[in-house]
């Protein structure tokens, strides 16, 4: 049970926030490149899924898993994308991502007049609160990883 990393993208593909907790392997490319690759993959998955789907979708893409990790995805109606990588024992992290959006992002950044939206987030309060929230999750336990 563990949390690997979190990405927040805006609707234009800019990575607003990134942090990692128990990440064992780097992608082998610079962070900028990695964000672009991640956003590109999500963008393609979204269009892939909407074409493949046999029925009309409501929430669309929710998560995918490989043999070692699971990627949880949550998109707000404004196009903000939250991506959380965890290990396979975590079932659904939708509530977690929704909480990060409504109780941390909206409260600490949208309502903060000095935060410029659409740029990389530099709010210390947001970072520390988010870090505390992730560390407090029931499935955050670095030792078991």
């Amino acid at each position: 049970m563990t949390v690997h990393n979190l990405y927040i993208f805006d609707r234009n593909g800019t990575c607003l926030y990134y942090n990692e907790w128990n990440r064992k392997k780097q992608a082998g490319i610079s962070k900028e490149e990695e964000f672009k690759l991640m956003y590109g993959m999500l963008f393609s998955i979204r269009s892939f899924v909407s074409k493949m789907s046999p029925l009309d979708m409501k929430d669309g893409f929710l998560s995918f898993q490989t043999s070692r990790y699971r990627l949880h995805y949550y998109e707000t109606p404004t196009g903000l994308k939250f991506v959380l990588n965890t290990d396979l024992s975590v079932g659904s992290a939708r509530d977690t991502l929704q909480h990060i959006y409504s109780n941390l992002y909206v409260e600490l950044l949208v309502k903060n007049p000095v935060c410029v939206l659409g740029q990389s987030l530099e709010s210390e309060l947001f970072s520390s609160r988010l870090d505390a929230f992730i560390r407090g999750l029931p499935y955050y336990s670095p030792r078991a990883a």
């Binding site: 990440r23 392997k25 046999p54 893409f61 995918f64």
Partner: protein, 219 residues
């Protein structure tokens, strides 16, 4: 619960087999009087609804048939442009059937190779060492399961999110592929699979998987 479709992708990303097992009907037919209260536009050579969602007709649905006759791309069966046809008041009242556009074989080829690359990126972006590519992709209406063999062939099954026993089914399909495609002397590797026995056995495996959800121990 249902299994929607099966794809087999070779190691280069080419689609070598595709079978639609069950296509759910999400269609709506309605008779319209002039003027049409929906906004239509052309997208990917199809006429789709872009505004005016109602009565089961959703934004993104394509025009499937007009007055009971199926359309061909963006033209009616007798070759007239659909958008122009629907602008003409003398053609009304008209009955139009809307629904999700079905995938053409070209689109299926494209989607298969798209998944092939997503699979590779999924393993590259892994935060853990030694990760495979995407094994299962979940959305609110379907789950995509993928099994890649040691030789690089991918078996992909699209199923209802509640359908169980897909992992066993994927291995069963691999077994069927080995038995009826690879052992067929007329089958050439990496090429589209056109083997009758493969088709038959795949269909029965899908039937069993839908009913029972597994193949029992040892198979």
């Amino acid at each position: 619960m249902a299994i929607f479709s099966v794809y087999v992708v070779n190691k280069a990303g080419g689609l070598i087999y595709q079978y639609d097992n069950y296509v759910p009907r999400a269609e709506a037919e309605k008779t319209f009087s002039y003027p049409l209260d929906l906004v239509l536009k052309i997208h990917d050579e199809k006429v789709v609804v872009s505004f005016g969602q109602r009565d089961g007709i959703r934004v993104g649905h394509a025009v499937l048939s007009i007055n009971g006759v199926d359309v061909i791309g963006k033209n009616t069966a007798d070759g007239k442009d659909i958008i122009e046809y629907l602008k003409d008041a003398s053609n009304y009242p008209v009955s139009i059937r809307f629904g999700r556009a079905r995938l053409s074989s070209n689109e299926k080829l494209m989607l298969a190779s798209m998944f092939h690359s997503l699979f590779a990126i999924g393993s590259q972006l892994s935060p853990e060492v030694g990760s495979s590519g995407i094994e299962m992709l979940e959305t609110d209406v379907f789950k995509l399961h993928c099994y890649q063999t040691l030789t690089g062939i991918k078996f992909i099954v699209l199923a209802d999110p509640r359908q169980s026993g897909i992992d066993a089914l994927l291995r069963k399909i691999y077994e069927i592929y080995s038995d009826f495609a690879l052992k067929n002397p007329f089958y050439s590797l990496e090429m589209p699979i056109r083997c009758e026995l493969f088709d038959q056995n795949l269909k029965s495996a899908l039937e069993i998987a839908e009913k029972a959800g597994n193949f029992g121990a040892g198979s």
